[in-house]
């Protein structure tokens, strides 16, 4: 089975985010970067498929030099090959442009499965996966929480967790899947795995290498104008006092008079 997993390197969600004084983006210095958590689950899903059906797992990322670390982690977890798509034309690229670039890389490889995270935790767009499926003309199932591939590898049954319901879909393969974090528990890169990954080369290709012109990649549909911190929230109302009846009365009064929800 030929499996491709798409990765992104993002700021650690636990890291404090500081906006650059000019609002042009977030402060990069001292920022801890990690593989997008959803992509760790995507990598795990890819590795499990390979363990069952054999074949290869190729990890790919379109991004700056630092994305190499996410690829290295995928190799350490057990991916066979890693490719970094790096081109100065991609600085400030939007999701659709990234999807076009990934599609150009993936199309000639004719994968059986393409796996992506449901979204990346930096900008929460959830666009690249679905856009990539469209560009590759592959059926897609997004935000899957369960994956059962038939023994012959020609189709899969997936579960999608919806608000108050579970959607069960059958998807023919090849397909593109984006994964939810509840799908699996990503393995740690083992320490011998890290050392083996160190010896594997991460191939770097640019747009020319993919046979893409800048015009084909297009320009960003939306351009970031300015980042601003969210407005400070006004402090909440505290109900003090030991008398529960009085406290309940105060909360009801708040909900009906000030919040106007009752």
């Amino acid at each position: 089975m030929n499996i491709i997993v798409c990765l992104k390197q993002v700021p650690d969600t636990e890291a404090p985010i500081r906006i650059r004084p000019d609002g042009s983006g977030i402060e990069g210095t001292g920022l801890n970067l990690v593989m997008n958590y959803y992509d760790e689950h995507a990598t795990e899903a890819a590795l499990q498929l390979r363990e069952r059906f054999s074949g290869t797992v190729t990890a790919v990322s379109a991004g700056p030099e630092r994305a190499r670390e996410a690829l290295r982690q995928a190799l350490a977890m057990g991916a066979d090959e890693a490719v970094l798509i790096q081109d100065s034309a991609l600085d400030g690229a939007d999701h659709l442009q990234i999807a076009r670039v990934l599609a150009a890389f993936i199309r000639p490889r004719r994968p059986d499965v393409v796996v992506c995270g449901k979204l990346s935790t930096d900008d929460n767009a959830a666009i690249v996966g679905p856009a990539l499926a469209e560009l590759l003309d592959l059926p897609q199932a997004t935000a899957i929480a369960k994956l059962e591939v038939a023994d012959d590898g020609t189709r899969a049954v997936v579960h999608r967790e919806l608000e108050g319901a579970l959607e069960v879909l059958e998807v023919p393969l090849p397909a593109l899947l984006t994964v939810e974090r509840s799908l699996n528990e990503p393995r740690y890169p083992s320490l011998p795995g890290i050392m083996k990954a160190k010896r594997k080369e991460i191939a770097v290709v640019d747009l020319t290498g993919l046979g893409l012109s800048a015009a084909e990649v297009g320009s960003p549909a939306a351009v970031l104008e300015r980042l601003e911190p969210p407005p400070a929230r006004s402090p909440g109302v505290q109900v003090n006092g030991a008398d529960p009846d009085a406290a309940v009365g105060a909360i009801i009064a708040f909900l009906s008079e000030r919040a106007k929800v009752l």
């Binding site: 190499r68 670390e69 740690y188 320490l191 011998p192 050392m195 160190k198």
Partner: protein, 383 residues
């Protein structure tokens, strides 16, 4: 000069940090309150490759350098100093000397088992009358009918209760002092070796500390480690690495103190504001951060020197001295930042306080380390 960790070192750090947070930290308080050998955690650590971090891949290990080991040990100790010392001893005091001084046959027989976690190792140097003055040890090794016969009593042996393999130092030659010593690889199933008293300790409670008794213990000729009379050299070379491991343990404990205090100072309100807004608290945190940073860099330097094959006895002593005194000092300050909550068992501070103390004692007391450092400063004649 390059102060940045490599990509691999950062990946190791992130991996072990996550492993420690998920697999060790949730159990660390219970392992202290109800001391027991953390078998399941050690099994998971072995699966990750932690038991044979520094063992080359050819012998079934992760094939990492000493700097990677130090980085990993700090992360483990951040979660539990007790769990960490079990792993550190297996790497630094058992795998390391076999790797450096063992025959090809010994490496093939022992390293894969130790690296896979099938066997656990321990290091038997200290005796009741030979602590800081280790080279005066009295355990005897006699060559009789083509095998070695060991007699003596070893104490304070970390991992001794569970260990399958012991590196035992004994006097094989008529010479007194370091030149009369040899090192032996003694399997626990060899006749004549047994576990004696199991110690109860102030801290690092989930790692066993025991007496090992050697009563006409029969050791095959092929289990001499290194040459006859080379035991003193092996013991001291091994301790250089061991001390870097303890420095890493101390940095991990000190970091735990700082991280707990930072979180607490934000959440704890007194006089109508979080205590982090008081300068007294800020200075405590700043001093902790400063000393931790210094300790870690000195630990990295000692590890880096050793990885280059250079002598690092003084540097390892410096790293362990400052790191262990930082851990004890930081724990002392951290308990104070927590006030009454620092003194009770519902919070981890009193555990850090107890765990920190051992780092000033084992693998060279602060006094012995100062002696080693002074020799470096004054030259051997000066002392």
């Amino acid at each position: 000069m390059e102060f940045e960790l490599t990509e691999e070192h950062r990946l190791i750090q992130a991996t072990v940090r996550e492993f420690a947070a998920k697999e060790i930290l949730p159990a660390s308080a219970d392992l202290d309150h109800h001391p027991r050998y953390p078998e399941e955690i050690i099994a998971k650590a072995a699966a990750l490759g932690l038991m044979g971090l520094i063992v080359p891949e050819a012998y079934g290990g992760a094939g990492m350098d000493g700097l990677a080991n130090a980085i990993a040990q700090e992360e483990l100790a951040r979660a539990s100093a007790g769990v960490q010392v079990i792993i550190s001893v297996n790497n630094s005091l058992v795998c390391d000397p076999i790797l450096r001084f063992g025959t090809e046959e010994q490496k093939r027989r022992y390293l894969p088992r130790l690296a896979r976690g099938e066997w656990l190792g321990c290091y038997c140097l200290t005796e009741p009358a030979a602590g800081s003055d280790a080279m005066s040890l009295a355990t005897r090794a006699e060559w009789r009918n083509g095998e070695w016969i060991l007699n003596g009593r070893k104490i304070f042996v970390t991992n001794g209760a569970e260990a399958d393999l012991c590196i035992v130092y004994a006097r094989s030659e008529a010479t007194s002092g370091a030149r009369g010593l040899s090192a032996f690889i003694v399997e626990k199933t060899f006749p004549g070796i047994q576990v004696g008293k199991v110690e109860k300790k102030l801290g690092i409670k989930c790692s066993s500390t025991v007496e090992i008794l050697l009563d006409d213990c029969r050791v095959p000729a092929s289990n001499l480690l290194g040459q006859r009379g080379e035991g003193g050299v092996i013991a001291l070379a091994t301790l250089d690495g061991g001390r870097i491991g303890i420095a890493a343990q101390a940095v991990g404990i000190a970091r735990a103190c700082l991280e707990e205090c930072t979180a607490y100072a934000t959440q704890r309100q007194q006089f109508g504001r979080p205590i982090r807004t008081f300068q007294a608290t800020q200075w405590a945190l700043a001093d902790m951060a400063t000393r931790i940073e210094a300790s870690r860099l000195l630990m990295y330097r000692a590890a880096w020197l050793r990885d280059r094959g250079e002598r690092c006895t003084a540097e390892a002593a410096v790293a362990k001295l400052i790191a262990s005194e930082t851990a004890m000092w930081a724990a002392h300050r951290a308990v104070q930042v927590f006030g009454g909550y620092g003194y009770i068992q519902d919070y981890p501070l009193e555990r850090y306080f107890r765990d920190a103390k051992i780092t000033e004692i084992y693998e060279g007391t602060s006094e012995i380390l100062r002696l080693v450092i002074a020799r470096g400063v004054l030259g051997s004649k000066g002392t």
